[in-house]
Symmetry: C2
Subunit: 287 residues, 2 copies
């Protein structure tokens, strides 16, 4: 498997890391990159992450046998509309978005009859910093990558996508988009929402800054994801709002159960609830 | 500064690490250890963390010029009552509990006229694993240590405590107990409570185990503290219940503000709230 040209749309952390990984693996001859911010694609060019800067998303897609969309999920539809004139039925188009049902709807609307060329992909990888300066050819290595193809998705494209991510050292799995979105609302989107809420509650207090200066390693790890990129997380939380709000309801119920024990000073019941949480977390390992 | 004998009450992670650090620094000649569980003190003896096993807390305190209580905060009063017959006015007694107002109340009740020998201490250090097997002489090095002496606390004891923790490489600070408890409810106790609630909400779902298998590095760091020791956290959350519940209320308000934006699909307002959180967290560094 060797691609002639990767059309990279979005030369940030995710896109830049993908291009670097693909080049390092010898899987692509040439990368043409486009970013909405010219500064990003200029920087990607100077770092050798892309070989050529395109002036539009359509130019990046033109003549590419592989197109990667690494843009905020809310920009999926407009980006796919922009490249739609260049889409051919044997092209492989993928995204790297953290939500899948909304991306698939956007792709159906934007691509119409060419929808089969698009494989919805979610690599479970990232950093709380963004931009091509933080791109890393090893970002995806060893990480799970989830494909959520629809009935109309081209079988050849699904096969190619699977082979490509496997060649980058990823563990490729397949799920329905609805299943994917429910699962990631629970294990990713809700933790981000809680971390954002926690930071806001902390600094809105008059003593917030002083409290922050006393925080230790527990705080550091718990709140790390609160530093994530605001536009990206705005898009994800709104795109997957039903699942996110459902998870938040379940969380509030679990929090209330703990609070009731604390209020009542019911140490036995509180210890049981904490033990459940502690046991589950201690047994978990990163896949 | 050199102590003749450390009476170590509680030979677990915190107590064991303290004894090891004190020995490595050449600050103590001999360590006599007691644990409610004989297996713990036997293991501490076999690891060389203590030099002698005491059969009771009182025996560990007898003849010691330094006593460290490293027991769950809820056991402070009974432990101090047990050693009270051995307490002399020139002894230095310290605890390492994560809450201070309740510990001070317990110490007043248990020690009576000898209360001045007791310096309430909170070293901001720990691990999500417990037991003497995980003890580490470097656990406290470089970490902040907060002293919360009362008006009646012996000036000599405060001076000794400050010198001791400084000699172990710690950054010693002084606060009122009320201030301390409010601050740590915000930066430590609430994050633990939220992490416990989050894990419980996750696994109580029918698909919870499957969701867990898909979790990535964001989940890993956010939920790490949920694996903490249940008895210890039961005690802390109940001991500091007013501050903890107050912080939880503020958190719920901040969560609701985010949920309202998500429900309404109000991307601008949502991005503003996330940006506040992200900026604050990105600027924070561990002290």
């Amino acid at each position: 498997m060797m691609f002639e040209q990767l059309g990279l749309i979005g030369c940030g952390l995710m896109g830049g890391s993908f291009a670097m990984a693909l080049k390092n693996a010898g899987l692509v001859k040439r990368v043409v990159g486009y970013s909405r911010s010219t500064a990003s694609s200029t920087q990607a060019l100077s770092l050798g992450v892309i070989d050529e800067q395109a002036e539009t998303a359509e130019h990046a897609a033109a003549g590419s046998d592989l197109v990667l969309l690494a843009v905020p999920v809310a920009s999926t539809e407009s980006t796919l509309r922009a490249i739609q004139p260049q889409v051919t039925s044997d092209m492989l188009i993928m995204d790297v978005g953290s939500t899948k049902q909304d991306v698939i709807q956007a792709a159906r609307r934007a691509l119409g009859a060419s929808f089969g060329a698009f494989v919805p992909v979610h690599p479970i990888a990232g950093k709380e910093v963004s931009g091509v300066d933080n791109a890393d050819p090893l970002l995806y290595k060893g990480r799970p990558v989830i494909l959520t193809p629809e009935a109309e998705t081209g079988a050849a494209q699904v096969q190619q996508a699977k082979a490509l991510w496997t060649a980058l050292g990823c563990k490729v799995a397949r799920m329905s988009a609805a299943d994917h979105d429910a699962a990631f609302a629970a294990v990713s989107h809700l933790p981000h929402l809680l971390a954002f809420a926690y930071m806001n509650a902390l600094v809105q207090q008059s003593q917030g800054d002083r409290y922050l200066s006393l925080a230790g390693t527990g705080f550091r790890d718990f709140s790390r994801i609160a530093a994530s990129e605001p536009s990206m997380w705005r898009d994800i939380l709104i795109a997957n709002r039903d699942d996110v709000l459902q998870q938040s309801r379940l969380f509030r119920q679990a929090l209330e159960a703990l609070e009731i024990c604390i209020s009542a000073g019911d140490g036995d019941a509180l210890k049981n609830l904490i033990s459940d949480a502690s046991r589950t977390r201690a047994q978990w390992t990163l896949s």
